[in-house]
């Protein structure tokens, strides 16, 4: 299990390489990277992500531990950034490794659904000097219910 809550930029291909190099005998590796939209369309100047230090790390750890309980996975990686992010920059990523693809895909989806609405992050989109807090999607809670 590798969890990082950080302000710094990360290179997802390097992260995947480091993550997978430590694994042995895996048959499937699934990764997801969330990226700040609006790079070419200029619909966003930048994104600000606020989080709850302490609770963020604890919540992510609990979510990852639950993922390990539910699926037979070999390892999992979660990186989530906070602070000021420019369009085109990575916000977060997850990676899951298992022997078979079904477990890796499902575990990654589960991680994403829970990180979205149970990890204490709040996004603010800034355009022309005006900031708007991103509202949680109406489907976010429904997405969690499918796992219960």
């Amino acid at each position: 299990m590798h969890i990082s809550v950080q302000n710094e930029f990360f290179d997802f291909s390097k992260e995947v390489e480091t993550f997978s190099s430590k694994l042995d005998n895996i048959g499937a590796l699934v990764t997801f990277t969330g990226i700040v939209r609006g790079e070419k369309s200029k619909t966003l100047d930048y994104m600000l992500i606020e989080h709850y230090p302490g609770m963020t790390e604890t919540q992510i750890k609990l979510i990852v531990e639950e993922t390990f309980k539910r699926w037979k996975i070999c390892d999992a990686l979660v990186i989530h950034r906070y602070g000021k992010l420019e369009p085109g920059e990575p916000i977060m990523m997850v990676a899951t490794a298992s022997q078979h693809r079904k477990e890796a895909f499902e575990a990654a989806e589960y991680l994403m659904d829970y990180l979205k609405s149970r990890a204490p992050f709040w996004k603010k989109e800034v355009l022309n000097g005006e900031g708007n807090w991103v509202k949680a999607g109406s489907g976010d809670e429904a997405a969690l219910r499918r796992w219960s």
Binding site: G34, E50, Y52, G54, M55, T58, Q59, H80, I91, M92, M112, L115, K116, S117, R118, A119, P120, F121, W122, K123, K124, W133, V134, K135, A136, D140
Partner: protein, 82 residues
């Protein structure tokens, strides 16, 4: 003393990120009612219980939860991670 912590638009509208308070409230909802009487900013922010969440000692909980063991209570809108 209990530390109250605010995030996102709640922090912005209350105008501070945290404060320490003394309270006679025994549950979260009682605390919210107490805060609402204090100042119009609180009554506006906490007017719709569906629009925010609460965590006691960094653990997500509900509005009926007792606050007798609380050191830190955080109020924030639904999370938007990922």
């Amino acid at each position: 003393m209990i530390d109250l912590i605010y995030f996102s638009w709640i922090r912005e509208r209350i105008g501070k990120s945290s404060e320490s308070i003394e309270t006679g409230a025994s549950t979260v909802i009682e605390l919210i009612e107490e805060l609402k009487k204090k100042d119009v900013r609180y009554s506006e922010v906490f007017s719709d219980l569906g629009s925010f969440r609460v965590a006691i000692n960094q653990e997500l909980t509900n509005f009926d939860a007792p606050i007798t063991e609380a050191k830190e209570i955080a109020f924030f809108p639904p999370m938007t991670g990922g």
